[in-house]
């Protein structure tokens, strides 16, 4: 059970949050111009890394804001929390 430092509310218990999968997968601007394979890449393919992973989280039972997290999936250490739209940190 993590403690997550919501960029808008501060430290809160994990039970207030929902995980939203891998971060920085941008929805294509013109999906109709993509091939089936390209669209499938966007739609289905996720990395599931052992190590530092960038992921989306939502303070669902709090401010309802989405934000990004860099988390080491091997030991659940949260390396960094940053706002939506900000660039992923270098590893």
């Amino acid at each position: 059970m993590f403690i997550i430092n919501c960029p808008f509310c501060g430290e809160r218990d994990q039970s207030e949050f929902k995980a939203g999968g891998e971060a920085h997968i941008e929805r294509p601007k013109q999906p109709t111009e993509l091939s089936d394979d390209e669209w499938a890449e966007y739609l289905f393919m996720r990395k599931n890394i052992k190590g530092v992973q960038f992921e989306r989280w939502n303070h669902a039972h709090g401010c309802r804001k989405w934000f990004n997290m860099a988390r080491d999936t091997s030991n659940d250490e949260i390396k960094l929390i940053y706002k939506m739209g900000e660039k992923p940190p270098l590893k």
Binding site: F2, P28, P31, T32, W39, L43, A60, W66, D76
Partner: protein
């Protein structure tokens, strides 16, 4: 009780308070402070239970939570009954009733004992191997196996006790109140840190508190006296909370721990009345100090499980702490010095110690010399090869060990004894450390796993960290505390410590015997009856990983999770396969450390508080009018309103006829409602719905279908344009919360440039939907000055008006195909609105209808319910709803996926109607549909999604999804049921009023 089984003068037992209790129906007496185990032994009761598989007689082995054998049923045949409770943890109290488990008809004569004689035929994996063929007979076998197996009986009625949860936040949590835990708690609390100290036992002080021996001294005091002073100092500190009878069950990441605090189990029936029984503590600690100590290991030899064979340290605790003599003629069997401590302690209390069998060749420590000087005979380089006595140990057989320790030599010596103390060294209790994600390392010199790396802010100190000697414990704990708490010094530097043991130990995981292994029963896991033989068999059959061996043999899978024997299982695997212990690894330590009651886990969330219910403002009316309710998500929705003795079918038929021919009223308050505002609202709706929204006029309503990005139908509902840049969206009842989350997600992450604000207003409005040909007349009575003509108030439009003084929003929209109006008012006027509607509709026999009738009415019209007729694999094209999918819009959520090769297949499952050849026959929802009955294997074409008897059409109707269904109109299909086959014909999904005449009736 037999007085000669008590040693007088234990300060932990109140000999002035006599307590009676029942065990297996017989009344016994003990003292306040006794556990069930100590009181039974004081009464010379050693046969406590029967083993799980072979039903062998078993007694008490330990004095703590690691007990594998003495597990009992408490308060049998009452609502308070609890199975699998360790007799070593039950504090006796007036009214306690306990009984043996796993035996029939009694623990003394147990029919299952025949399994012991049959045991050569019951090897590891026996059940898997034997009862799997023929597979069809498993159900029969299972009945008998389940009957004869199992530990204890589960309660048959609801638990009447009260349980509780509590959150605790602290700077430092110390787990275990032995000597190192007390040092840690005192140091932390003195450093101004909010500290919690937990211990599973009744008293704090661990094993040191009853040590009382000149062999262990701190600053020239007996270690127990020294610790006693420390505890007194500790109790004066005010930023420290001490909780005893509190067992940490789980240690999760980020220092989040769960502990069970036992509040009343030790009290008499009268004292515990109306009190909280157990409390689950949810602890978030900034720092955690693990001081969980260590567990003594047994030794593995033939017949090492008889009542009277106990851990050496347990015999010592029963004598020193409880003042109870476990046996009158004691023998100890050891591979290290610690058995000598027990032997000396007994001798000094004038309890007879016959001999010590030591597998080592020699040891020179002072404690051994002391034992010799007390006249105890020591058999060096000897091992126990067998034991005798069925219900109580009578005799042991001893032989000399060969030089390499692999075999026995010479002749057998038999020693008469009624208690054998075994001492196989110590296993650090690293369970909690590993639960938290910590990694272990193996220390070869004394064959223990000790903490290595961990990620959270924690340390392990004392014997759980592999420090077993008093001087080391104090020195290393003091140093660790200084670093961990970041303080300059502790009270424990430069103490003079006397400890007289040496650490020399000889480890043999499976002791040799004069018999071949196949003829022996050296138990590794006592509770699950797993022997060394079973583990070797598993290895012979090709199992290598410890996790596989565990599952095949069930070693370590009992309620004690193999606290005693797991190390030996690993050792035997390592020895047999020639792999190093450190490489074999350990099995995963899983929470809880000791079993938890379900009551503790759920706390107050029982009965009506188990899950949250949401009720509409009209709920009281529904209850008063005897509605039956159904759960829709968290909502309690009126399902149907039976009159007199109507069945559900009769009520639904009546309600649906009334709604079609005169007037019906539905509580639609549960529909999800999202208020959408902002200058980009129309554009937003364009992107989230499949159809176009740009041209919708103010005051108009439109039905929308929402997809997932994969093209599958996600939600639907009517959205109304209240004003320029202001919409109200309705969603399905069950989908409301998820739709809100999804829309917010897109707004915040993909389209932050859009000026749109979403607010969930589901609970802010109450909604009554009146439908049927007379609904207009009823609405006219309610709002006389509103022009209800089709010109002023057409289908799919909205009016903002008032009923009396109550502001309301009225939408003319329909989910039944009838003319209908949805009236929305501020939620707290909901019941008043409903009652006014009923009053105004009385002359038209307005009939309240529930969700079942609503489902029937919409099915007659072929309207889908998302989640019933769709299941996350259905596109709007599959639903034959092309009309709602905009071709002009460049993009909306899910659009691209509608053009994937898979979603464009012609043979996808498509929504169709079904009518049965026999119009009275109603299909079962979920029934499979086939076109050929004699195929092998038969090809499933699809399934029935909705099915009803329609009173308005006087026949059975159904909706279904069928492969290639849209090209099958008029085709005959079959629905095979268990006892018959039903013939059906594929039809259009719209059964009634295809021209929508009724909407404007």
């Amino acid at each position: 009780m037999s007085d000669n089984l008590r040693v007088k003068g234990s300060k932990f037992i109140d000999e002035t308070t006599k307590i009676s209790f029942k065990f297996n129906g017989k009344i016994y007496y003990g003292f306040k402070g006794d556990t069930l185990a100590s009181a039974l032994m004081a009464n010379d009761v050693h046969l406590v239970g029967r083993s799980f598989k072979y039903h062998r007689p078993r007694g008490i082995m330990t004095a703590g939570s690691e007990e594998p054998n003495a597990i009992v049923q408490v308060n049998d045949n009452t609502a308070y009954t609890e199975p699998n409770v360790r007799a070593t943890e039950i504090e006796i109290h007036e009214g306690l009733e306990a009984s043996s488990q796993n035996c029939w008809p009694s623990v003394g004569f147990d029919i299952g004992g025949i399994n012991n004689i049959l045991s050569p035929f019951l090897p590891a994996g026996f059940y898997y191997k034997t009862f799997m063929w023929p597979a069809s007979s498993w159900e029969k076998y299972e009945h008998f196996i389940r009957h004869s197996a199992g530990l204890g009986k589960s309660p048959k009625v609801a638990d009447p006790d009260i349980y509780d949860h509590r959150y605790i936040h602290c700077d430092v949590l110390v787990i275990g109140a032995g000597i190192s835990g007390i040092m840690a708690a005192k140091t932390a609390a003195q450093s101004n840190l909010k500290t919690i100290l937990l211990d599973e036992k009744t008293e704090i002080g661990g094993t040191t508190i009853y040590q009382n021996s000149d062999n262990f001294k701190i600053n020239n005091k007996n270690s127990s006296d020294w610790l006693y002073n420390e505890i007194n100092e500790l109790k004066k500190l005010d930023n420290l909370e001490i909780k005893t009878r509190t067992s940490v069950a789980a240690y999760h990441g980020y220092n989040y721990l769960l502990a069970r605090e036992n509040l009343t189990d030790h009290l008499s029936k009268k004292e515990k009345q109306n009190k909280i029984r157990q409390r689950l503590l949810k602890i978030r600690a900034k720092k955690v100090i693990v001081a969980t100590g260590s567990l003594e290991r047994p030794l593995i030899f033939d017949n090492n499980d008889r009542p009277g064979i106990m851990l050496s340290s347990a015999i010592k605790k029963y004598a020193d702490y409880y003042g109870v003599i476990c046996g009158k003629k004691n023998v100890f069997f050891t591979n290290n010095d610690s058995a000598y401590e027990s032997a000396i302690s007994l001798s000094k209390k004038e309890i007879k110690v016959q001999a010590i069998i030591d597998i080592r060749e020699k040891s020179e420590s002072s404690i051994i010399k002391e034992a010799e000087s007390l006249g105890i005979k020591i058999y060096w380089s000897h091992t126990v090869v067998n034991t005798h006595g069925y219900k109580k140990l009578k005799e042991i057989s001893v032989m000399e060990l060969s030089k390499d320790g692999l075999s026995v030599i010479g002749s057998k010596i038999n020693i008469n004894c009624d208690c054998l103390g075994i001492a196989g060294g110590w296993t650090p209790a690293v369970h909690l450390f590993t639960q938290s994600g910590g990694k272990l390392k193996f220390r070869d010199e004394d064959q223990v796993f000790i903490p290595n790396k961990n990620s959270s802010k924690q340390i392990s100190i004392g014997s759980c960290n592999g420090d077993f000697e008093l001087d080391k414990i104090i020195k290393n704990s003091s140093n660790s505390l200084k670093n961990f708490l970041d303080i300059g010094k502790t009270d424990y530097e430069n103490l003079s410590v006397v400890t007289s043991k040496e650490t020399n130990k000889k480890n043999i995981w499976l002791l040799p015997s004069d018999k071949v292994i196949g003829k022996t029963k050296p138990f590794v896991d006592y509770q699950n009856d797993v022997t060394a033989k079973d583990i070797k068999l598993a290895l012979r059959e090709g199992f290598r990983s410890i996790e596989h061996v565990k599952r095949y043999t069930t070693t370590g899978m009992g309620t004690d999770q193999g606290k005693l024997g797991n190390m030996h299982a690993l050792g035997i695997i390592a020895d047999t396969t020639g792999v190093k212990m450190g490489e074999v690894g350990t099995t995963t330590f899983r929470p809880p450390y000791t079993p938890l009651t379900f009551g503790t886990i759920v706390g107050r969330n029982v009965g009506e508080y188990f899950d949250i219910f949401r009720r509409t403002p009209m709920n009281d009316w529904h209850v008063k009018n005897k509605a039956k309710f159904e759960n829709v998500g968290q909502w309690k929705r009126a399902w149907y309103y039976p009159r007199y003795n109507e069945t559900m079918h009769e009520a639904v038929q009546r309600e649906s006829v009334a709604a079609r021919y005169s007037a019906g009223i539905l509580d639609a308050s549960t529909l999800g409602k999202i208020d959408i505002q902002g200058s980009d609202s129309s554009e937003f709706l364009n992107r989230v719905y499949t159809n176009a929204w740009s041209k919708l006029g103010i005051g108009k309503c439109r039905y929308g279908l929402m997809l997932n990005e994969d093209g599958m139908v996600y939600d639907d509902g009517v959205t109304t344009k209240l004003n320029e840049n202001h919409y109200i969206m309705t969603t399905t009842t069950g989908g409301a919360a998820n739709v809100m989350v999804k829309l917010e997600d897109y707004l915040q992450t993909e389209w932050p440039e859009l000026d749109v604000y979403l607010t969930s207003v589901t609970d802010h409005f109450a909604t009554a939907s009146i439908c049927g040909p007379n609904s207009k007349k009823i609405l006219n009575k309610l709002i006389p000055d509103l022009d209800l003509s089709d010109e002023n108030f057409p289908h799919m439009s909205f009016k903002k008006t008032r009923i009396g003084k109550i502001k309301c929003r009225v939408m003319r929209i329909s989910f039944t195909g009838e003319l209908s109006y949805e009236i929305n008012v501020q939620a707290n006027y909901g019941k008043s609105l409903w009652e006014q509607c009923i009053k105004a509709g009385k002359e038209f026999n307005i009939t309240p209808y529930g969700t079942e009738t609503m489902h029937l009415l919409r099915a007659e019209k072929g309207f889908i319910i998302v989640g019933q007729d769709t299941d996350g694999t259905i596109t709007p094209i599959d639903l034959q709803m092309h009309w709602i999918v905009s071709k002009k819009k460049l993009d909306f959520i899910g659009k691209r996926s509608l053009y994937r090769s898979d979603t464009m297949r012609e043979d996808r499952k498509q929504l169709v109607g079904l009518v049965t050849d026999n119009p009275k026959e109603v299909l079962e929802e979920g029934a499979q549909i086939v076109s050929e009955l004699n195929q092998n294997p038969v090809q499933m074409l699809g399934h029935v999604t909705s099915s009803y008897f329609s009173p308005n059409l006087n026949k059975s109707i159904a909706l279904a999804v069928v492969k290639g269904g849209k090209t099958m109109i008029g085709k005959k299909l079959f629905i095979p049921m268990e006892d018959r086959t039903i013939n059906v014909m594929v039809t259009d999904p719209v059964f009634l009023d295809k021209e929508n005449k009724k909407l404007n009736a």
